[in-house]
């Protein structure tokens, strides 16, 4: 019965996707195996770095990122060389796509902010390149320090809500920065990661606007969103870069996204 339901939901989702094709939003993702490391937890995190449509679970091909690292106690550590290629796909994709994975050992208490700068992705449908600067924060051993500090990426979301230990329904507030300065009235897209571990059933959006939630920041680039389900939530603030990239001899625009991921859990 369960299998029938899941096949059915995949079929419904597939139909939905064909219908909702233009609404797809791209998201860079970093998902760690744990977002709060306590004494009794494994100190080795498994991190997955992907370029996907989180709600539809579609993978896109991701070449090796330009930068991948972690900030802990104000110190940056380059982890690019540790990335290993892996393959993945959604239940309805026939082809598998490359994503990246690594194991990282937590050695000290404090917040660990992992960040990635992907290699520009060419999107023919939008006639532009996409670069999503993506971050996620993991807390270790009771020291809640570091999460509110920017990494110093070209564009990034700096959390104003502590980004771990969040209940389902909590409000997440962040500030959008571009070259270190707030982006007034930035548009922020929000999606639920349907492949979140522990997600009890695939969410099937009843109409296009449910796939990607959209909020606008205030004059200080500050936005908020209340997350209605347990699992991983992605926030993407999109801006156009003031630089171009060449494609077949022609200059093309670059969409730079500041992406941040947080995890919520149901109150039980």
């Amino acid at each position: 019965m369960r299998a029938v339901i899941s096949i059915l939901s995949v079929m419904v989702l597939t139909v939905m996707m064909v219908v909702t094709a233009p609404a797809l939003a791209h998201f860079g993702t970093i998902t760690p195996s744990d977002d709060i490391v306590t004494q009794d937890d494994s100190k080795t995190l498994r991190l997955q770095v992907k370029f996907i449509h989180p709600m539809e679970m579609h993978y896109m091909e991701m070449v090796k990122p330009k930068q991948f690292g972690v900030v802990h106690d104000g110190k940056k550590t380059d982890l690019l060389a540790s990335l290993k290629a892996a393959k993945g796909k959604s239940p309805d994709q026939t082809e598998s796509f490359t994503f990246w994975t690594t194991d990282y050992k937590i050695r000290r208490p404090g917040d660990y902010t992992f960040y990635v700068e992907p290699t520009p992705y060419w999107e023919p449908a939008e006639d532009l390149f996409i670069v999503h600067y993506t971050k996620v924060c993991v807390n270790a051993l009771g020291l809640e320090k570091g999460w509110d500090q920017p990494v110093g990426l070209e564009t990034e979301i700096v959390p104003m809500t502590r980004p771990y230990g969040l209940w389902t329904g909590n409000l997440f507030t962040g500030q959008v920065l571009l070259k270190g300065k707030p982006v007034p009235f930035a548009e922020v897209e929000i999606e639920y990661l349907n492949e979140s571990p522990g997600n009890i059933s695939v969410v099937i959006p009843p109409a296009d606007p449910y796939v990607t939630q959209v909020v606008k920041a205030d004059a200080n680039g500050v936005f908020s969103y209340a997350m209605p389900r347990a699992g991983w939530w992605g926030f993407a603030a999109l801006n156009e870069a003031d630089w171009k990239l060449k494609r077949d001899g022609k200059e093309k625009g670059v969409e730079i996204g500041a992406v941040y991921w947080v995890h919520t859990q149901d109150m039980k």
């Binding site: 004494q39 009771g142 020291l143």
Partner: protein
């Protein structure tokens, strides 16, 4: 009437104090380097637990040694025994937490 308002102030002050205390969960972290155990005791915001009592137990729950954290929340000691150790921090007002330092880590840090 005056007594009442004094009582009210007392209640408010008590609430304020206890509120702060509740949010101040203590933590202790330990690691081994060159035959020495280094402990760090801290509150969630990173401020050190100063003058906290550190108690070190072996796997049979025997107290091996004790000490007091310094201004930076630190207390160090030579490896007392290669065993699974439990390091307990006792701060003021009954705040307490512990850290398990595994035998393997003590062996690796010799």
């Amino acid at each position: 009437m005056k007594t009442l308002s004094h009582l009210f102030i007392l209640v408010v002050v008590t609430l304020l104090l206890s509120g702060t205390a509740l949010a101040h969960k203590v933590n202790v972290f330990a690691y081994v380097e060159a035959g020495k155990v280094y402990t760090e005791s801290y509150f969630p915001d990173g401020s050190p637990v100063e003058g906290g009592k550190v108690l070190v137990y072996d796997s049979q729950n025997n107290l091996l040694l004790e000490g007091v954290t310094d201004k930076k929340g630190l207390f160090n000691f030579a490896v007392p025994k290669v065993d699974d150790l439990t390091i307990v921090i006792e701060a003021t007002m009954g705040h307490k937490n512990s850290f398990k330092l595994k035998k393997a880590e003590l062996e690796a840090g010799r």
